[in-house]
Amino acid sequence: MFTAGKGRLVSVGAVVVGASLALAGCSSSDPLSSGGSGDSETLIVGSQQYYSNEIIAEIYSQALEDGGYTVDRQFNIGQREVYLPEIESGAIDVFPEYTGSLLSALVDSEPSGSSEEIYDQLTEALPDGLRVLDQADAADQDSWTVTQAFADKYNLTDIASLANVTEPITVGGNSELQTRPYGPDALAEKYGVTTAGFTAVQDSGGPLTVKALVDNQIQLANIYTADPNIQTNNLVVLDDPDSLFLPANVVPVVSDKVDEDAADILNAVSAELSVDDLVSMNAESVNDQKSASVIAEAWLDDKGLLG
């Protein structure tokens, strides 16, 4: 027979054991491995959890569909660490990528160089069964961005000029930014720029990050260069003459299932995709709340890429 005191202990123990079992139960299954069965007719197009990447993925999808291919859209997969194994395993056939960012995820050494050099290195670094098609002019890369007022106050032009700043600089962005090769540590090592603190704003340079920057709660933010908020809020992207951030041109990564006809379709898309196109499409998404499919269709139509 249990006394009341023992009964409580037993029930707490039961909760702990039960929770452990429930957690252990989900131990060995990969939450992302959906049935990527090999239907050779269907091309699986993936995208990052990033609206701009989704627009490009939607452009690829619609262009391929227009060329007679069946497309299975697997959008919003997350960040590179999550989807890269999926691409490498062949579970995804077409993925809009960014040259420099992808290269640094594939190689151990820290890559550097011009946009073309990065592209060449990337073609060699990709594992068997994967290749990149032509890269677009459009680039969307990480940046260190400040407000116009902050830039004027300390005469900021490039990243190195951050050393002029005499007040404490609080950096803001996704928390993983702290461990990225261009993060606050790199600022200190390469430019002697000391940062006072880090505020995690977990929306990948989205509206919350921009607001924190405009409100001067953070002084330095990591915002993607194709983000329309940079123009809307009069922000200043600091020049990066030493390529701290890698050139990140938009490029489709494709599997063996993408034949030459499909490759031609995607290359035609990349040939037309400019930086300004990307920024204005992003603006339509952010400011006008248009869906990726509407934006993609209008762009393809405008460029005469729909047959």
Binding site: L23, S27, G78, N174, E176, Q178, A200, L208, K211
Partner: protein
């Protein structure tokens, strides 16, 4: 690949403790947010609950309102607030207070409501003022149920405070959100396990408090206990 073992290894790795990015900092932030939220929610909900419980007026309206507020998605409210206020602690604290108030309000109100009317009539009959009835009869007798409300609010707040880090509030949401972004599921699970442990600690503390504040002679209602029922029928 065993995520659970990896999560345990992540928690036990000394490299993940200490410093501004250590798990200890995250736990302190998490506890800090939770306690602030509970303090504010208690300060708002208890007086209102007592007022409704004592007068019996407005209960329908408040119960319906707090029920409706419960349905508000906290993440949506949080981002809406952060976009209108600022990133940092303010938005998550307000959003979590909104989450915590209904349970505490219900506890405060139900604590008064559950008191045998004859007890209050007796208090009035011996000449107690309304204020004395509230402070000397209703408040002590209602405390166990109020503490129950605070307990369930604490559980919700500790679990949901993981959202705070999305808008720069810190806390144990950090390892979870960051793990999601970089695909480190062991780190995510480690954060979740720490939240669960924290919730159990809060639960133990509040259940001890609940026992402590129960006035002598009043047993907390345990409907499943046949012994209590038998005792009650014997004394009736």
């Amino acid at each position: 690949m065993n995520f659970f073992a990896e999560a345990m290894a992540y928690i036990l790795d000394p490299a993940n403790w200490g410093g501004v990015n250590g798990l200890d900092t995250r736990i302190i932030e998490h506890v800090f947010i939770s306690l602030i939220v509970l303090a504010i929610a208690v300060a708002i909900a208890v007086p209102v609950g007592y007022l409704i419980g004592h007068t019996g007026k407005g209960s329908g309206f408040v119960v319906a309102l707090s029920g409706a507020v419960r349905a508000l998605p906290t993440l949506g409210l949080l981002i809406l607030l952060a976009l209108n206020l600022s990133v940092g602690l303010t938005a998550p604290v307000i959003a979590l207070v909104v989450l915590a108030v209904p349970s505490i309000l219900a506890g405060a109100y139900a604590g008064f409501h559950a008191i045998d009317r004859r007890t209050i009539d007796a208090a009035r009959a011996v000449g107690m003022t309304e204020w004395q009835i509230v402070t000397k009869v209703e408040m002590p007798l209602g405390l166990p149920l109020l503490m129950g409300g605070i307990r369930s609010a604490a559980l919700q707040v500790v679990a949901t405070a993981t959202l705070a880090d999305y808008v720069g509030g810190g806390g144990l949401g950090r390892p979870i959100l960051e793990g999601l972004q970089i695909g480190n599921y062991a780190q995510m699970l480690a954060g979740s396990v720490l939240v669960v442990l924290l919730a159990i600690v809060f639960e133990l503390i509040f259940s001890a408090l609940q026992k402590l504040v129960t006035p002598a002679g009043v047993t907390p209602p345990r409907l499943t206990s046949t012994r209590a029922l038998r005792n009650r029928s014997r004394t009736a």
